[in-house]
Subunit: 334 residues, 2 copies
C-alpha cells in the first residue's frame, strides 16, 4: 500500500489557518505596491489582485512563524511580486490569452507594458529584501531568481522537444517553480533568525512541496477541465511543452504506438484534433495517475523534511499547518 | 560667452585612462557572466561583448578610485549587466532591428529568449551587489532599478504624445538613463567606504553626466547619420518618441507652423517623408543646438558637483579623469 501522509487537517481548519495569513499578506501587498507612476500600480494590481492563492507569501509567514518569528508581514510581498513578474513575462513568451480565468494582462495592457511592469515588480522584490539586515536574506533571493531565469530559458529551449528526458523535465520544474517556493520557506526561516539546520529543513520542505505542486499542475493539464482550472487545459501540448504525463506515456505505451504519440504531439500546436487524441493516449497510458503518484511522493518528502523540527510533544500549530499543506497540494483540483 | 569646462584632457590621454579601466571591467564581465545554461551565456555574450563603451563600469571604477578604493573590479560588471538587460527588454518594446551597428539580439534569438535572458542579467546584477557587505550598496541598486523601470513605463506612456512637456521629457531621461549612471558613481563611492558627502557628490556628478549623455543622444538622433551612430537616426520620431530637439522646435518655431510640425510628427511612424520633413524643421528651428547647449549645461553641473572633492593642490588623477569625461560626453559624435 502507498505511504500515507503523517498529518492532515480538516479542510475547513486548514483553510481558516491559511486565510488568517493570506490577510496580512494581502495587506503587505497593498502597503508596498506603490509607484510614482499610477499606471504601474494599475497593471501590477490587475495581476496581483486577481485572486491568486497567496501560496508563497503564506508559506513565508508559516515558515517564519514555525521558526519562531513574531515579526511583521511586509517581506511576504516579495514572493507574490516575483511570482507575478514571472507570470507577466511568461504570458508574453507563451502568448497566453487567459490567466486565472480572465484575460491575461498582456492582452489588456500590451506586451510592452507587461514586460516593463514585470521588471518593476522584480525590482520591488529586491527592494523589500534589501530592507532585511541579515545578508543571507538577499543572497537567498538572488540565488533563487538566477535559477528561476535559467529554468525559464531551459523550458523555452526544450519547447517542442518531444524526446525530452524525465531528468530534464525535473530540472525545469525545479528551477521554474520549486525554487521560488523553497526560497519562500527558507527566507521565512532566515527572517526568524533560525539556525542553519532549520533553514535547510524548511528549504527542502519548500522544494519538495514545489515539485509536488508543479506536477499536480501538469497532471491537471491532462485531466482537468477549463472551468475547474481557470485557464485552458491541454495547453501544455498546444504550446509544445512536454511534461511528465506525456513522458510517462511515451516511455510506457505499446512500443508500436510511441512514434504515433510523438507525431500527434508534434501536430498538437496546430491541430486541436491531434491534441485531443494525444491527450487521450496519455490518459489511457496512465500518465495522469503516474504523475499524481510522483507528486504524492514529493509531498511525502516535504513532510519528512520537517521531521527533525517536530519536538517530542508533537508539532506546533504552524508546523502542523505546513505538514497539512502537503496533502492539500496533492488533493487540490485547481 | 558660454561657461567653459574646468578640466579637459587631450583625447588620447583620456582614451588611455578609460581603456586602462575598461580592461578590468571586461575581465569582470568574463569572470562573472557564467550560467548553468550555455545558451544564456551565448545570448548574453552577444549583447555584452558587442563593443559597448563600458561607460558605466568605468565610471564605477573611477568613482571608487577617486573615493580611495584600491579594490577589485568584480562589481563593475553590475552596471553593464543592468544596462544590457534594459537594452534587451527595450529592443523588444521598440521592435528594434539594429543595436550597436548589427542585428539586435531579439532578431537573432527571438523576443522570448531575450526577455528571459534580460531577467537573468537583472538577477546577476543583484547577486553581485549582494556580495558587498555594506547594505547601502544593494539599497542604492534597488532604488536605481525601481526608478529605471518606472522611467521606461513613463516613456512608453508618453509615446505618441506630441504635446509632451519638457519637464516630462526630463523626468523620463533622468529615470531611464541618468539614474543608472548616477548609481554607478554612487556605488563606486559606497564600495570605497566613502562618507555621505562624497557619495552624494559622485551621485550628483553621475546624474548630471547622465542627463548630458542622453541629451547628446537625443540631439544626434536629429543631427547624425546612421553610419556614425550604429543605429538608425531619426528613429525617435519613427517610434513616436518625443525628445528635447522636437520640444524646443515645437515651442519656438513660427506659431503658424506649430500645428504642421505636430502633424508631421504624428505621421512620421508610417511616413518616411513626413519624418524627414519634421527632422528638417526641428533642425531649422535650432532644436539640435539648443539640446546640445542644455547637454553642456548638465556636463558643467557634473564638473561643479565634484568641486567640493578637489583638494587645494588640485584634483587627483581619477578626479581629473572624471572631470574630463564631462566635456567628452558632450563632444562625442556617436
Amino acid at each position: 500500500m502507498a505511504a500515507s501522509f503523517k498529518q492532515t487537517l480538516p479542510t475547513d481548519e486548514l483553510r481558516r489557518r491559511v486565510l488568517a495569513l493570506a490577510e496580512p499578506a494581502d495587506q503587505a501587498l497593498k502597503d508596498t505596491l506603490t509607484s510614482h507612476v499610477p499606471y504601474i500600480e494599475q497593471v501590477s494590481g490587475y495581476i496581483i489582485f486577481s485572486g491568486g492563492k497567496r501560496l508563497r507569501p503564506v508559506l513565508y509567514l508559516l515558515a517564519a512563524a514555525a521558526a519562531g518569528s513574531q515579526g511583521q508581514a511586509r517581506q511576504a510581498a516579495i514572493f507574490e511580486y516575483l511570482h507575478a513578474a514571472t507570470l507577466l513575462h511568461d504570458d508574453v513568451v507563451d502568448e497566453a490569452g487567459l490567466r486565472r480565468g480572465r484575460p491575461a494582462a498582456r492582452t489588456k495592457y500590451g506586451n510592452d507594458a507587461v514586460i516593463l511592469v514585470g521588471d518593476f515588480l522584480f525590482s520591488k522584490s529586491y527592494s523589500l529584501a534589501a530592507e532585511v539586515a541579515d545578508h543571507r536574506f538577499i543572497n537567498a533571493l538572488t540565488d533563487c531568481t538566477t535559477i528561476m531565469a535559467e529554468g525559464q530559458v531551459l523550458e523555452l529551449l526544450f519547447t517542442g522537444d518531444y524526446e525530452l528526458a524525465e531528468a530534464d523535465y525535473r530540472r525545469v520544474i525545479q528551477a521554474k517553480t520549486a525554487v521560488l517556493i523553497a526560497a519562500s520557506c527558507q527566507m521565512g526561516a532566515i527572517f526568524a533568525g533560525a539556525d542553519d539546520a532549520t533553514i535547510h529543513a524548511l528549504y527542502t520542505y519548500g522544494m519538495e512541496l514545489g515539485m509536488a505542486f508543479q506536477m499536480v499542475d501538469d497532471a491537471l493539464d491532462y485531466a482537468g477541465t477549463e472551468h475547474e482550472f481557470g485557464k485552458p487545459v491541454g495547453h501544455d501540448l498546444a504550446e509544445g511543452k512536454i511534461t511528465l504525463p506525456f513522458i510517462f506515456a511515451r516511455e510506457n505505451c505499446d512500443p508500436s504506438q510511441r512514434g504515433h504519440l510523438i507525431d500527434l504531439a508534434a501536430a498538437a500546436p496546430a491541430d486541436p484534433a491531434a491534441q485531443a487524441e494525444a491527450k487521450e493516449m496519455v490518459r489511457q497510458a496512465g500518465g495522469v495517475e503516474h504523475t499524481m503518484a510522483q507528486a504524492k511522493a514529493h509531498a511525502l518528502a516535504a513532510q519528512d523534511a520537517l521531521a527533525a523540527l517536530i519536538p517530542a510533544q508533537g508539532p506546533s500549530e504552524h508546523l502542523e499547518t505546513l505538514l497539512a499543506l502537503a496533502p492539500y497540494v496533492v488533493e487540490r483540483r485547481s
